[in-house]
Symmetry: C2
Subunit: 245 residues, 2 copies
DNA sequence: GGCTCCGCTTGATTGAGATCAATGCGTCCT
DNA sequence: AGGACGCATTGATCTCAATCAAGCGGAGCC
């Protein structure tokens, strides 16, 4: 276990200093549960992967052999129905973990929505590391618990909120999930398309577009560009999100 | 830590033999990760609670001091919007675990939907037990991971499935979640009301009722009573659930 | 520059499921 | 037994978001 495996990039170049040690995403990730001394063990089983926007890291139905840690960029996780209807179950950002699902095969797909880098682990290697470092398991459990709470919020959104409430909720949640926050408060980076927002919110592209326009017209937000927004009246946005309007 | 605390029932009567040792739900629960020798430690921090149908074990917004293990009966977990709209995020049965959520306060409510018994733990006590028995943490992580996968399925259901597809999916999932399975295959115990089904599926009572009637008329299911159904054509039900019809 | 493509917005119409409104039916209570 | 209550079913109508259908506008390309 934990033996050094062949890596796609030059091993020699990385042997001297741990890549994990200088990883900008470490602070946001489960890796932070490991002490600096343990990073070598993590490094040894990690494989660095770069993805272009649109490329897949996980394909629904394929054998679940890998786990991933996002180190930069954004990823969409989704499930498909046979006729092509898509539900995006979450967006992942730097520090997020994916692939822990039990079961022989992946029950979902995951693709980069912008250029991304990630660490890939063989499930068996990672399991072995967990056995040696229980703090890692604690961190994973905490993260899974967080995600479960987020999933419950999303079920409330999908099952009971109106289109406008869903859009407002999304704009409020997005920045606190994404560790790459623009410096200014109220500034939202939106790395996904309208279609992706729609598939995440259980709506259509048109409804999302209309909803954003309505928020803009009401003076709640400004659309700086397709991928950047500014919240002018956060308290109003919060009220809309909770159906108090 | 792990000291014997005052219990609502007669301690003397239970000191001689572990209640956990004879617990019918143990096999389905995270408790099964503990060896028989460790059950004493679990017993020491467990408080047995009985609930009548409708009584609450967790109230949204209250301090999150307890964890629970369901030992019999059924429980609904739900979130509310300020105006009263309700989303049931899950039903719990014997063996299920609830309350691990991070955060100071509970972010959801949980109530018995039929008479139920459960084990209650103080969060701090349970955390201490986890520290002593890492296998428990592994079991919890595995369970959380399962629930996460189930949550993703539910998001697909709520975001992208039609009313008919949701109802069919529910009838397929229900029996495999509930460990109290009637002996005959195709026989479904439905401990919840139509209103609860509706709030779980993101529908109204009327739509659920109409959907069930439609399945009955199509010869897919039979309604033996309000709380018992029989699936005559499971393959048909599966096709409907996946939108292949 | 002008063309095309792609993602987004806006408008018109439709439809699935919500809402409103009786009615049915089993259980419990006196 | 009769009545009343709670839950479920069934029917009629309405509404919000989906669908259908143009345009718009920026980015990339020849």
């Amino acid at each position: 276990m934990l033996e050094l495996r062949s890596l796609p990039t030059d091993c020699a170049a990385r042997r001297s200093d741990s890549v994990c040690a200088t990883c900008g995403a470490r602070a946001f990730s489960v890796c932070s549960s490991l002490g600096v001394d343990d990073l070598a063990g993590l490094d040894a089983i990690a494989e660095r992967v770069s993805l272009k926007s649109g490329e897949a890291l996980i394909r629904q139905g394929e054998p679940a052999v890998h786990l991933f840690n996002i180190t930069s960029g954004s990823v969409r996780v989704y499930k498909l129905l046979p006729d092509g209807r898509r539900q995006i179950t979450g967006f992942l950002f730097a520090g997020d973990f994916v692939g822990l699902a039990t079961g022989q095969d992946y029950a979902f797909s995951a693709e980069a929505i912008e250029d991304a880098t990630l660490c890939r682990f063989k499930k068996s290697d990672y399991r072995a590391l967990i056995r040696e470092r229980p703090a890692l398991e604690t961190a994973l459990l905490e993260r899974a618990t967080h995600e479960l709470a987020a999933a419950q919020n999303q079920m409330l959104l999908l099952g009971r909120k109106t289109a406008q409430e869903r859009i407002a909720s999304f704009l409020l949640d997005l920045p606190e999930r994404d560790p790459i926050r623009p410096t200014e408060a109220g500034h939202i980076r939106v790395p996904m398309t309208r279609a992706e927002m729609a598939d995440y919110l259980g709506l259509t592209i048109e409804t999302v577009s209309r909803g954003l326009t309505k928020l803009k017209t009401a003076g709640v937000i400004r659309l700086l560009s397709l991928n950047e927004m500014l919240v002018d009246r956060p308290e109003r946005l919060r009220a809309i999100a909770e159906g108090e309007a």
